[in-house]
Amino acid sequence: MQLIKGGRIVADGFVRVADDAPVPNRMPVIVSAARFLAEAETLARRTAPTGVVWPNDRRVAELDPYLPSLALVALVFPTFRDGRAFSQARLIRERYGFRGELRATGQVLRDQFLFMLRAGFDAFEVTKDADAAAFAQAARRYSVFYQPTGDGRATARAARARRDSLASGSLL
């Protein structure tokens, strides 16, 4: 399993802690949603970064109050067919304004990387080494996007407006 962040393969700075194991004090950790909610106050007092794995069948609105204290949210694709986390990602980024690491975990195909980037993911746990190596290429696969998301990529509409105003000689 490789972790991609910032478009490159990197070492994972976070440690996954099992529900029945003690949470180490000075390390970045990822805990399960159940544990996080049960121990929210204690975890909030940590100085080291805290992350949570949020299941794809729970409303992310539940997580909203805790986002300021979270460094990382990991969302889950139980199979590559199950796209619920795409909606969750957009809500976490665009509705609730989360700025920390948004990590895609589970079954992830390289053919989904660009969709995930557009939905707001910035980190990816990738099972196939070949997929990890191909990340940069996958992220550049398309240059035209019809619909806006929170990722800041220009839509076709904006590109058209720019082309038309350039053609007409006027400034934007």
């Binding site: 067919r81 796209g83 909606s87 070949a130 696969r141 398309y142 019809y146 619909q147 509409r157």
Partner: protein
């Protein structure tokens, strides 16, 4: 028709390159079939009984002559010389090789055609009335809205891995020619009492194992809010649609299980958060898309010119065809011409490459280069001058697409069925062909009047049998082909699901049962002008059951 620009073209080209790479990775074993299947379906590539099938999307059923010629070329070069037009205004090629697909797609991309999202659990082809833009009874061209929605849902990062497929239809005329009520989402434009135009939004239609008609969840949606509202519906569906059972995964099940009102509230709540954001449509955004739809420079002509009147009076065959295949156009002196792909003994909806080329030429000469595909699996030439109708008819007749049976008993809608499809239980095409032979008599067919027969080879209902006046569904019983027959279905604004007329019958009996139903109708009708569906509504199903049961 919609004019693609460089951005539209580039997106399609990038898609072809992505698929080429995916095929390479599958052939090398890097991708498992399970992974590849999901990816190829998103490009309309199915594996069927004998070969791969490629489904090409025809957005809102509009084709240019150049596009139709390219389809003919693909049929010849990569397939077996023909294509099949479907009940969702698309076209299918049944003999495609996987290794040829990237090249075939590259050629199609040159004219702006592709198979993006024609399958898979994504938003499918946005369909509409095949008379869009030229029908006298529409408020405005529905294709502008279909195109706005199409762009929004194409390669949408959030809605490409949904619980199941999602089909959207748009209508702007009171008479529904696009079967809105069997769609997952339908947008019906209308004018309210205040004189404003907006959309009635309906959700939860769909056929298959558990057929449902749509329910209205928003009575009046202003135009500016169309994209944000569609987004809200999709987001609620993506998150809460069932994923545990493939047969309960469509939005119709979610709407049914939550209740339409609760579902509407979920959507409304989501929508309120986004309605004034980036998806709000201003007049400029709408105008921009509308401007890319080009209409012919219509001449100022009078209705019923001598070039039409005279042959109608002297050429009986022409007049018969004219009464059946020519519809009123919103512009005086023009006509909407429907081409029948339901010739006797032929496969419903199939056209040969030569026919496609011939039709493309005729479109250039007589229809401003434009062709339409209807969900009834027939084609349309939408901009024909009435003075050209006789000359056009002779050419259509020579091409085998002028059978005057549109809307009649032999204008059968049928899926490919077990002859092609790996999902099927039974064959559908031979049943359709036999019925066209039983009802080959044009005078009889005209006497029977409007009568829609729909045939599906399995419960997936691609032939829309639930909404046929007579519906035929192939099932399997003890390894034999059996068929359930229903009557009373309708796909229009008074949509209904058909009801069983009796126990399933074997393959050899189906045509007999249909003849008996027709005979019962003739006996029961008030007068010749009362069509089948109205007679059924008046007398109910019991008299039909009695008469059909008596002989089976």
């Amino acid at each position: 028709m919609y004019v693609h620009d460089a951005f539209d073209r580039r997106l399609i080209t990038e898609r072809v390159e992505e698929f080429r790479d995916q095929v390479r990775r599958r052939l090398s074993g890097e991708l498992t079939e399970d992974e590849f299947k999901l990816l190829r379906l998103l490009n309309g590539v199915y594996l069927q009984l004998h070969a791969y099938m490629l489904r090409i999307g025809i957005p809102y059923g509009t084709l240019s002559s150049a596009q139709l010629r390219m389809l003919a070329h693909v049929a010849r070069r990569y397939d077996r010389g023909y294509g099949h037009f479907t009940t969702r205004q698309n076209i299918q090629f049944h003999w495609i090789k996987l290794e040829d697909l990237p090249d075939a797609m590259a050629e199609l991309a040159r004219v702006g055609l592709h198979g993006i999202q024609t399958s898979g659990n994504s938003v499918r082809n946005v369909t509409t009335d095949q008379w869009a833009g030229v029908a006298p009874d529409e408020i405005e061209d529905p294709r502008v809205w279909a195109e706005l929605v199409r762009q929004h849902v194409t390669l949408h990062p959030e809605f490409t891995f949904m619980p199941r497929k999602f089909k959207i239809a748009v209508g702007t005329a009171a008479h529904d020619r696009a079967a809105l009520r069997i769609h997952d989402l339908a947008l019906q434009l209308y004018r309210n009492e205040a004189g404003e135009t907006g959309f009635e939004v309906m959700v939860g239609g769909g056929l298959g194992r558990t057929p449902f008609l749509t329910k209205t969840i928003k009575q009046f949606l202003p135009k500016r809010d169309v994209l944000s509202y569609v987004e809200a519906v999709l987001r609620v569906y993506n998150q809460y649609g069932r994923r545990d059972n493939i047969y309960k995964a469509r939005i119709k099940i979610l709407v049914h299980e939550l209740g339409a009102e609760a579902f509407a509230r979920e959507v409304e709540q989501e929508w309120l958060s986004i309605k004034d954001g980036a998806l709000a449509l201003d007049d400029a955004a709408i105008a921009e898309i509308a401007a890319r739809f080009r209409y012919p420079a219509y001449e100022r002509l009078a209705d019923d010119p001598i070039e039409l009147k005279k042959p109608r009076a002297t050429d009986r065959r022409f007049d018969t065809w004219h009464r059946n295949a020519v519809a009123r156009h919103r512009i005086p002196g023009y006509a909407i011409v429907t081409l029948s792909l339901k010739a006797e003994g032929e496969t419903p909806g199939d056209a040969t490459a030569a026919q496609m080329d011939a039709i493309a030429d005729l479109a250039d000469r007589y229809s401003a280069g434009e062709i339409r595909v209807g969900h009834e699996q027939n084609l349309v030439l939408p901009h024909v001058r009435q003075q050209d109708l006789h000359v056009l008819w002779r050419a259509l007749d020579a091409a085998g697409v002028a059978t005057p049976n549109l809307g009649l008993v032999s204008d059968i809608i049928a899926c490919p069925g077990l002859d092609y499809c790996s999902l099927a239980n039974a064959r559908s095409i031979p049943i359709a062909q036999e019925l066209t032979r039983r009802f080959r008599d044009g005078d009889l067919a005209r006497d029977l009047g409007r009568l829609h027969i729909n045939i599906s080879g399995c419960i997936n209902a691609c032939g829309h049998h639930h909404v046929g006046h007579i519906g035929i569904l192939g099932v399997e019983k003890n390894g034999e082909e059996y068929y359930q027959v229903t009557i009373g279905g309708r796909a229009d604004e008074e949509a209904e699901l058909g009801k069983l007329i009796g126990p399933a019958v074997p393959y050899g009996e189906v045509a007999n049962v249909v003849e008996d139903i027709v005979a019962a109708y003739v006996e029961l009708r008030e007068r010749p002008g009362e069509i089948f569906i109205d007679t059924l509504k008046r007398v109910g199903i019991e008299p039909f059951k009695e008469r059909v049961h008596a002989t089976h």
